[in-house]
C-alpha cells in the first residue's frame, strides 16, 4: 500500500465520521428550529382563526343588542295578536337587523322562538327568501330553551353543510330584558345566526394546508403533541389544530437529504484538500526521495537532493550519505575486481568489459576497434633466473610503460587513448578505437616495440625480454569479441613465429594461416 493510499484510508473514515456527526447535529438542530417555527406559525394561524371568530362573535353580540333594544322588538314581544304583529311590527325587527347589516356578503339571520320552541319570526339578509332557520338551528334553540340558559353561542353545521355561528339570548316577554330565573320558562328566545364565511375560509384553508380536521369542543382541549395548537374561540368553544406527523416529514426528509449531501460533499472536499496537502508536504517528499533513490538504483541519476531540514530532509541526507558510502565501496570493489594486482592496470575482466563497450560503440557509431595482443618473449626465463619478485617488478614496469606509450601516442595523434590490460602471465592487451591502418595504431605498435629494443630495463637491470604483437580489428577482421580475440591471438603467434619482438597484423596474414581457431585453446 502506498503512503497516499495509507493516508487516504486513515483520513477518509475520520473526516467522514466527523462530517456525519456534524451533519446529524445540524439536522437535529434544524429540525428543532423548524418545529419551533412551525409551532409559532401554527399559534399565529389559530390566533387569526380566533380573531376572525371574535369578529363574528362581536357582530352577533351587536345584532343581539340592537334587536333586543329596539322598540320594534319590544312592541313585537308585547303583542299577542299574531296577525297585527306580523303585518305592522315585524318589519321593525327587520329594520333593526338591517341597520347592522355588515354589507360585506356576510349572511346573518334573526329568529324568534316562543317558549314552546315555535319559530314566530325569521328574517335574513340572504339571497334565498324561501330558506328558513335550519333544523340544527331550531334544535339548538330548543336546547337553549330547555336548559333555560340565559345566553349561549355555538358553531354548528347545518344539514346543507354550511356552518353557522349561533348566538342565543333568552328575553323576558314584557321587557326584553334578561329574565329572572323563575321566569325563564316563559322567556322568548332571540337567536342570531351568522355564516362565518371568513372564519370558515381560514379554517378550510388551514385544514387543506395541514391535511387534517380542526377539532372543536365545548370543553377545554390540550395540545396533542409537540406540534399542536389550541385556541379558545369563545368561552365555551375550543379549537385544536394538530398537523399530522406526515406534514413535517417531507421537510425533515429534505433536510436530512441536504445534511447528508452536505456532509458527503464536504467530506469529499475536505479529504481532497487534505490529500493534496498531505501529498505536497508529507508523502510527496518521501515519494520524491523514493524516486531519487530508484533513479540511483537504475543508474539514472547520481545523487539525492536534500529537501529542507525536516525529517524527510534528514532522511534524504542520510540516504545520500549512505549511498555515497556504498558507491565508494562499490567503486573500490569494482576497481579491485577489474585491476590486476601485480601491475595495477586493468585485468582480463576489465578488458572484456571495455571490449564489449567498444564493440557496442562500433555498432552504433561505426568507430573501428583494434586489439593489440602483446606477449612477452622469454619472460619464463626471468622468473626462473631472477625470481618471481623480479618477474612481478618487470610485469609492473611493462604495464606502466604500455600505458605511458598508449597515452603519449594518443596525445600525439590526437586520438582517444584506449585501454591497456594484463591478460594473464606475460600477456598484455591494448584496445583502441581506431582502424589498424591508422597512424595511431601504427605509431602505437612502433612505440611498444621500441620499449623492448635491446631488452627491457627495470630499476637499472636489463632483462632480455621482447614483445610479440598480434593486431586484429573489428569489423575488418572480426565481428565478435571472441573472434577479435582469436584473430589478435593468432596474429601474435604469427609474430612470435616470425622472430620475436615483431608485429603481425591479422589482415596481412595469408588466408591459409587462419583457421578461425585460436592456436591455443584459451
Amino acid at each position: 500500500m502506498t503512503l497516499n493510499k495509507r493516508a487516504f484510508s486513515l483520513i477518509f473514515p475520520i473526516v467522514l465520521l466527523g462530517y456525519v456527526l456534524a451533519g446529524g447535529l445540524a439536522y437535529y438542530g434544524y429540525r428543532a428550529a423548524v418545529i419551533g417555527l412551525q409551532k409559532a406559525r401554527l399559534d399565529q394561524e389559530v390566533f387569526q382563526l380566533k380573531s376572525s371568530y371574535a369578529d363574528y362573535l362581536s357582530l352577533g353580540s351587536r345584532l343581539l343588542y340592537v334587536v333586543r333594544n329596539s322598540n320594534a322588538f319590544l312592541l313585537f314581544l308585547n303583542e299577542t295578536d299574531e296577525t297585527y304583529r306580523t303585518r305592522a311590527l315585524a318589519v321593525g325587527i327587520q329594520d333593526s337587523l338591517q341597520s347592522l347589516d355588515p354589507r360585506d356578503d356576510t349572511f346573518v339571520s334573526c329568529s324568534i322562538f316562543q317558549p314552546d320552541g315555535r319559530l314566530v319570526f325569521h328574517s335574513d339578509n340572504g339571497q334565498d327568501p324561501f330558506s328558513t332557520a335550519g333544523e340544527r338551528q331550531r334544535a339548538f334553540a330548543r336546547a337553549v330553551i330547555a336548559d333555560e340558559a340565559p345566553t349561549r353561542s355555538a358553531l354548528i353545521v347545518e344539514n346543507d353543510g354550511l356552518s353557522y355561528l349561533l348566538m342565543s339570548s333568552l328575553v323576558q316577554a314584557r321587557t326584553a330584558r334578561q329574565p329572572v330565573l323563575s321566569q325563564r320558562e316563559q322567556a322568548v328566545l332571540l337567536q342570531i345566526a351568522i355564516r362565518p364565511v371568513h372564519f370558515q375560509a381560514l379554517r378550510t384553508g388551514l385544514e387543506a394546508e395541514y391535511r387534517t380536521r380542526i377539532e372543536t369542543s365545548a370543553t377545554p382541549l390540550a395540545p396533542n403533541g409537540e406540534l399542536s395548537a389550541v385556541v379558545r374561540l369563545a368561552p365555551d368553544l375550543y379549537a385544536r389544530l394538530t398537523p399530522p406527523g406526515s406534514y413535517l416529514n417531507g421537510r425533515f426528509r429534505k433536510i436530512a437529504i441536504i445534511s447528508a449531501a452536505m456532509s458527503l460533499s464536504l467530506s469529499v472536499a475536505s479529504i481532497g484538500v487534505l490529500m493534496v496537502l498531505v501529498r505536497r508536504f508529507v508523502t510527496g517528499p518521501v515519494e520524491e526521495l523514493d524516486r531519487q533513490v530508484s533513479g540511483i538504483m537504475t543508474q539514472q541519476r547520481e545523487t539525492i537532493d536534500v529537501p529542507g531540514t525536516g525529517e524527510v530532509g534528514r532522511l534524504a541526507a542520510n540516504v545520500r550519505r549512505l549511498h555515497w558510502e556504498l558507491d565508494q565501496a562499490l567503486k573500490r570493489t569494482q576497481r579491485l575486481y577489474e585491476t590486476d594486482p601485480v601491475t595495477g592496470i586493468g585485468n582480463r575482466i576489465y578488458f572484456n568489459e571495455m571490449m564489449e563497450r567498444f564493440f557496442h560503440e562500433e555498432k552504433t557509431t561505426g568507430q573501428p576497434v583494434t586489439m593489440l595482443f602483446i606477449d612477452l618473449d622469454n619472460f619464463k626465463m626471468v622468473n626462473d633466473e631472477y625470481g618471481h619478485r623480479a618477474g612481478d617488478a618487470l610485469l609492473e614496469a611493462v604495464a606502466h610503460a604500455l600505458v605511458l606509450a598508449l597515452n603519449e601516442t594518443a596525445r600525439a595523434c590526437d586520438a582517444a587513448p584506449g585501454i591497456a590490460a594484463r591478460f594473464a602471465g606475460d600477456e598484455f592487451a591494448v584496445l583502441v578505437q581506431a582502424g589498424p591502418r591508422t597512424a595511431y595504431v601504427q605509431d602505437l605498435v612502433r612505440s611498444i616495440l621500441a620499449l623492448f629494443q635491446g631488452g627491457f630495463s627495470v630499476d637499472g637491470s636489463r632483462y632480455p625480454v621482447t614483445a610479440s604483437i598480434g593486431v586484429a580489428s573489428a569489423p575488418e577482421d572480426a565481428t565478435t569479441t571472441m573472434l577479435l580475440l582469436s584473430c589478435a591471438d593468432h596474429a601474435m603467434y604469427h609474430a612470435k613465429g616470425s622472430g620475436r619482438n615483431t608485429v603481425a597484423f591479422h589482415g596481412d596474414l595469408p588466408a591459409f594461416a587462419w583457421t578461425g581457431k585460436s592456436p591455443r585453446n584459451r
Binding site: 322598540n71 320594534a72 312592541l75 295578536d81 299574531e82 296577525t83 297585527y84 306580523t86 303585518r87 305592522a88 311590527l89 315585524a90 318589519v91 321593525g92 327587520q94 329594520d95 338591517q98 341597520s99 354589507r103 356578503d105 319570526f121 325569521h122 328574517s123 335574513d124 339578509n125 340572504g126 339571497q127 334565498d128 327568501p129 324561501f130
Partner: protein
C-alpha cells in the same frame, strides 16, 4: 328605507321644536301628496298649523303609527293596511264622524277604506317612463320586468314588496294577492332575472332626487301621480309619463285616518271633513293629477284631466283592487324584496 326612517326622525324632531306655539296637527303623508294651496286654505280657515310628516314606505308608516310615542294626529293609509291598524285600536272609527252627503266618496272607495278611514285619493300601480329616453312606450308589465337591453341599469323598482310582487304576478297572469308559495317562487324568479337591469329598489320619486340616481332612471314601477312628482323634480323638463299596463292594473285608494292617540281628535276630524269637501277634493286632485274619490268633486275636474289615460286607467284593462295580502305570505314577500336587494348589492 333606513334613509326614510332618518328623514322621519328628523321631521319628528322638527315637530317638537319649541317654536311651534300655535295649535298644530301632524299629518303623516307621502311626499307632494297635498296641494299646498289647500293646506294653506286649511291653515287660514282653522287658524292652526299643519305639519306634514313625509314617509316613502307604507310599512314604515305603519310602524310609526304603531309606535305609541310618535306624535301623529292623522295619516294617509292605503286600503290594504288600514284595517289591521284600525282593528288594533290605533285609529278613530270614522262612523262617529259622518260627512255630509256631497263630501262622501264613491261607495267602492268607502268600502275599501272601511270604518277607520275616509277615502282621500285613488290611483293605479303601473309604469313611469321618460319619453326622452324610451322610444317605445311601455305597454305591459313585460316591458318593465323584461326590459330592453338599452334600459339595463336604468330601472327603478319600488321598495314596496306588495307592489313589486303584484307586478310580477300580473306579468305571470297569477292573482296579484296570492298567498301561494309556488306563485311567489315563480314571481321571485321573474324578479331575480330582472335584477341586473335594476338601478335601485326604491321609490322612483325619492330616488330621482338623489344625486347618484338623478337623470339615470328611465323607467320605473310607480303609482299614478308619480309622473307629476317626477316631472316637478326634472330640472324644468317634463319627460315623465305614466302607463297602466294592459295586462292588469292594480287600483288602490289612500284613506285619511285619525289616530286614536291624537290630542286634537276633533280638530283632526275637522281637517278630514275639510279635505273631503268637493271643492277642496277637486282642487287637490288637480294638483296631484290623480282621480278624486268623490264624484261631486270629479265633476269639477277639467275634461282634459278626466280623459287623461295617465290619470284615469283606460277602459278594458283588467283591474284588481288592492287589498291586504294573506298575513302568512307577508314575511315571505318582505324577504323576497330583501333578497332582491341583496342580490342587487352583490352585483
Amino acid at each position: 328605507m333606513w334613509r326614510s326612517i332618518c328623514l322621519l326622525v328628523g321631521l319628528l324632531a322638527f315637530s317638537y321644536a319649541p317654536g311651534a306655539r300655535a295649535v298644530s296637527l301632524n299629518l303623516l303623508i307621502w311626499e307632494w301628496d297635498l296641494d299646498p294651496g289647500v293646506a294653506k286654505a286649511w291653515a287660514d280657515t282653522s287658524g292652526t298649523e299643519l305639519n306634514q310628516i313625509i314617509f316613502d314606505n307604507g310599512e314604515r308608516r305603519d310602524l310609526l303609527i304603531a309606535t305609541a310615542d310618535a306624535p301623529i294626529d292623522m295619516a294617509v293609509i292605503d286600503s290594504g293596511h288600514i284595517d289591521a291598524l284600525g282593528q288594533r285600536g290605533l285609529l278613530v272609527d270614522q262612523g262617529n264622524y259622518p260627512l255630509p252627503p256631497e263630501a262622501q266618496s264613491e261607495a267602492r272607495w268607502r268600502s275599501m277604506c272601511g270604518r277607520y278611514g275616509v277615502p282621500y285619493i285613488w290611483g293605479g300601480t303601473g309604469i313611469v317612463y321618460r319619453t326622452d329616453r324610451v322610444t317605445t312606450p311601455p305597454a305591459s308589465w313585460a316591458d318593465l320586468l323584461r326590459p330592453a337591453p338599452a334600459l339595463a341599469g336604468h330601472i327603478a323598482m319600488t321598495d314596496d314588496e306588495e307592489e313589486i310582487l303584484a307586478a310580477a304576478l300580473g306579468f305571470l297572469g297569477r292573482p296579484m294577492y296570492t298567498g301561494d308559495t309556488e306563485d311567489l317562487k315563480q314571481a321571485f324568479a321573474v324578479l331575480k332575472a330582472q335584477v341586473p337591469a335594476v338601478l335601485t329598489y326604491s321609490l322612483s320619486v325619492t330616488a330621482q332626487q338623489e344625486k347618484s340616481f338623478h337623470d339615470r332612471i328611465f323607467m320605473g314601477l310607480a303609482n299614478s301621480g308619480d309622473q307629476r312628482t317626477l316631472n316637478m323634480t326634472s330640472d324644468g323638463a317634463r319627460p315623465w309619463r305614466f302607463v297602466t299596463p294592459r295586462d292588469g292594473a292594480m287600483l288602490w285608494v289612500d284613506c285619511l285616518a285619525v289616530l286614536s292617540r291624537s290630542r286634537q281628535p276633533e280638530l283632526a276630524e275637522r281637517f278630514v271633513a275639510f279635505l273631503a269637501r268637493p271643492d277642496n277634493a277637486a282642487r287637490n286632485a288637480i294638483f296631484l293629477q290623480q282621480p278624486t274619490t268623490n264624484l261631486h268633486a270629479a265633476a269639477l275636474l277639467p275634461q282634459a284631466m278626466r280623459d287623461d289615460p295617465q290619470i284615469y286607467p283606460p277602459a278594458g284593462i283588467p283591474v284588481t283592487y288592492r287589498k291586504p295580502v294573506p298575513t302568512d305570505s307577508l314575511p315571505l314577500r318582505r324577504r323576497i324584496l330583501s333578497a332582491l336587494a341583496v342580490i342587487h348589492d352583490a352585483q
